[in-house]
């Protein structure tokens, strides 16, 4: 007896020992230490631009600055003009469509819909000058705006609706002499304000990331590694890694966490196994829009209401517009949990003039391809932006309205507040038919969430997905996930068998007790 107890105790200890042995192999991965070291080293420029004579002149136009830059950097102009930052379209292969030319020029979004007819306004975020209504002016390398990306003084400002030209109040010479590698502020002035305001589009790229805390983004945190955008969006010959799938279709040139962290960065093998099917972002970005709200819904159908003949706006308690006469009604969200989709790096797009066959379900403007069965697919977090936007119910195509114009009477919705007229002019601009009828159709766009990475202690916990109730993965139904899924019949029958067994032995035992008492009584 004693021997058995000793053996059992020893074996239990052995099992516990094995478990703790496997658990205690906590060696800090060298990779992370290396990375921390690598990115704390300050880069010292090998050139002091302020000492170049050519930059010590009185610049009167921004083009003169560009000419000065190109006089030394004589290949840069060519490089920039082949980059996505310069071009309004590029060639992409889309499954089912073949090779198409796609870009801001012909893609439709569900924010301000499209650039056509609105170029002069949109050009504020183009890295060039002199953009006209017809997108002319971008074939001349003197129109490249070097400063918007390379200004290190944080004083460079582009003027509103001037085809990309800077505000002339700025000191061009000072900026030119203090030129350097892009900082977060250079990228942020455009990428944080997409869609017409801070954080409107992305949800994970916004003002708070100019100088973020580590809690907002563990990589860019000023009290952390303080990385610039270009640390991840590696750049060669002015071509940067990174895609935005509102316009991209192909799985190429993506900026990935794995570039630095490898495919298997965890010390726990069980977590490394997840990386086959789960993108890093899925667990490491538990919430986005951490500081300021992002737009989640947009209803164009209410646009055009006037108070006393004048456009007006309504704001919520946080200062977000909930209504604008020029744009309609909005909903916003802050500290949002992303939605999740399968994604293999390829996407399809609604392009100007595509006929919509199904008008009962929301139309997806950028379908992200992927499924559980697809070997290249991983689960990624996304922001889904849902809109009601103008649609021609007769021709069954989305309407590109004319929104912006310099003066009244050109048909611009934002000045004339006449939907029908703005649709007429807008559709004529893009050479598409317009039936004269406008309805509003529900659309959605997927915005992969890649920034606002949280520290590892705040990453998504196992049971936020592996749970029966409110799993983060509840909408992904094409696979079996332990902890979330079960077979209803097996669950019911199994539980029933357990309950019946307990009842069975309880009843049997009770009868035994009573029958033996009876016998004892008789005796």
């Amino acid at each position: 007896m004693r021997k058995i107890v000793i053996i059992l105790v020893l074996l239990t200890l052995a099992v516990i020992g094995i478990i703790t042995f496997f658990k205690s192999r906590n060696i800090e991965p060298d990779k992370l230490t290396e990375l921390k070291y690598k990115y704390t080293k300050k880069e010292i420029p090998s050139v002091d631009h302020s000492k170049f004579n050519i930059l010590n002149q009185n610049f009167t136009t921004p083009q003169q600055v560009t000419e000065a830059c190109l006089s030394c950097h004589n290949e840069s102009g060519n490089q920039v003009m082949h980059s996505s930052h310069w071009n309004w379209e590029r060639q992409e292969y889309i499954e089912g469509r073949g090779i198409v030319t796609i870009g801001k020029k012909n893609a439709i979004n569900n924010f301000c819909i499209g650039v056509k007819g609105n170029e002069k306004s949109c050009a504020k975020c183009h890295i060039g000058f002199g953009i006209t209504d017809k997108l002319n002016g971008y074939t001349d390398e003197k129109n490249i705006d070097c400063m918007v990306c390379h200004d290190n003084t944080e004083t460079y400002i582009k003027a509103e609706e001037k085809g990309g030209a800077p505000d002339l109040k700025i000191d061009l010479g000072n900026i030119a002499r203090k030129i350097g590698n892009p900082k977060r502020s250079n990228c942020g002035v455009c990428h944080f304000y997409g869609g017409g305001g801070n954080n409107v589009k992305h949800g994970d790229l916004e003002e708070s990331m100019f100088e973020p805390d580590k809690d907002i983004d563990v990589h860019m945190g000023t009290n952390g590694p303080n990385l610039a955008c270009t640390a991840c969006h590696k750049t060669e010959k002015h071509v940067m890694l990174g895609k935005v799938y509102s316009l991209s279709s192909m799985n190429r040139n993506r900026s990935k966490c794995e570039q630095c962290h490898t495919e298997t960065p965890h010390k726990e093998e069980i977590l490394n196994e997840h990386t086959l099917k789960v993108a890093c972002q899925t667990c490491h970005i538990p919430v986005y829009a951490k500081v300021n709200s992002t737009k989640t819904e947009w209803d164009w159908s209410t646009a055009g209401r006037l108070k006393d003949g004048e456009p007006f706006e309504e704001d919520d308690s946080l200062g977000n517009h909930t209504y604008l006469s020029i744009k309609g009604s909005f909903k916003w969200g802050r500290n949002l949990k992303p939605e999740y989709v399968w994604f293999n790096g390829t996407a399809e797009h609604y392009l100007l003039g595509d006929v919509v066959s199904d008008t009962t379900n929301p139309l997806t403007l950028n379908t992200l391809n992927g499924s559980y069965k697809d070997k290249d697919s991983k689960i990624i977090p996304v922001k889904i932006h849902r809109t009601k936007q103008p649609f021609d119910p007769i021709n069954k195509i989305l309407i590109q309205p004319k929104l912006f114009a310099d003066t009244k009477g050109e048909g611009a919705l934002w000045i004339d507040f006449d939907w029908k007229r703005s649709a007429e002019v807008g559709m004529k601009d893009v050479n598409l038919p317009f039936s004269g009828k406008i309805s509003f159709i529900r659309t959605q766009m997927y915005w992969p969430v890649n920034h606002m990475v949280s520290s590892k202690d705040k990453s998504v916990k196992c049971t936020e997905c592996h749970t029966r109730n409110d799993s983060r993965m509840a909408s992904l139904k094409d696979f079996y996930m332990p902890g979330r899924d079960y077979n209803g019949f097996v669950e019911f029958s199994g539980t029933a068998i357990i309950i019946l067994s307990i009842f069975g032995v309880a009843i049997h035992g009770t009868i035994r007790i009573f029958s033996s008492r009876k016998k004892n009584d008789k005796k």
Binding site: I4, I270, K375, D485, V490, T495, I497, S501
Partner: protein, 228 residues
Amino acid sequence: MLTKVYIYKSFERFWHWMQAFLIFFLAATGFEIHGSYSFFGYENAVNYHNIAAYAFIILIVFAIFWHLSTGEWKQYLPTATHLKAQINYYLLGIFKDAPHPTKKTVLSKLNPLQKLVYLGLKILVIPIMVLSGLLYMNYRYPHQAGIEGLRVGSLEPIAIIHTIGAFMLLAFIIVHLYLITTGGTITSNLKAMITGFEDIEDHKTENENTIDIGNIKTQDSTTNPDIM
């Protein structure tokens, strides 16, 4: 006349208790993974379950060797003889304080119902649990490394089979724990499995009794406890 008989060998007892511990532990961690409740924490539950699973497989390998080398495997050969009597005993006789329809000896320590149920566990439930468990643990994702050769396209059938087995084992444990108490005294079966010794009716007097259980008359009967 009762004599003390050494009925469960030391390895047998070790194997039994180790198996009992592992099955409890696997059930506790397994149903947490299944999402039925939470206790260890999900990641721990998965890790513990996997370690316990391999420990169980090692134990099974030793048990198979022991059963084959000692010939004890013959204990599990099913027999229809007295099967009905055993069932009738549990359903009726036990309440009338009737004697057990079969007797426990070193050469035949399992009653017909035990033989059938344990054999079922050994050749059906445990192998299914081990196989589905191995597939579960080593399944990655379609197209990925591991068991690609088997072309298992989904975890779902593996998981469902593993869950069915788990429910069956759990039901078995409940009934098994209860039937421990149906020996000569409430604790005599438990004591036997701990010490190895059990008080058993003397062999020489065995064939004298004729016992009436319901309508069935049987020659071969003793007053010995059986557990199932």
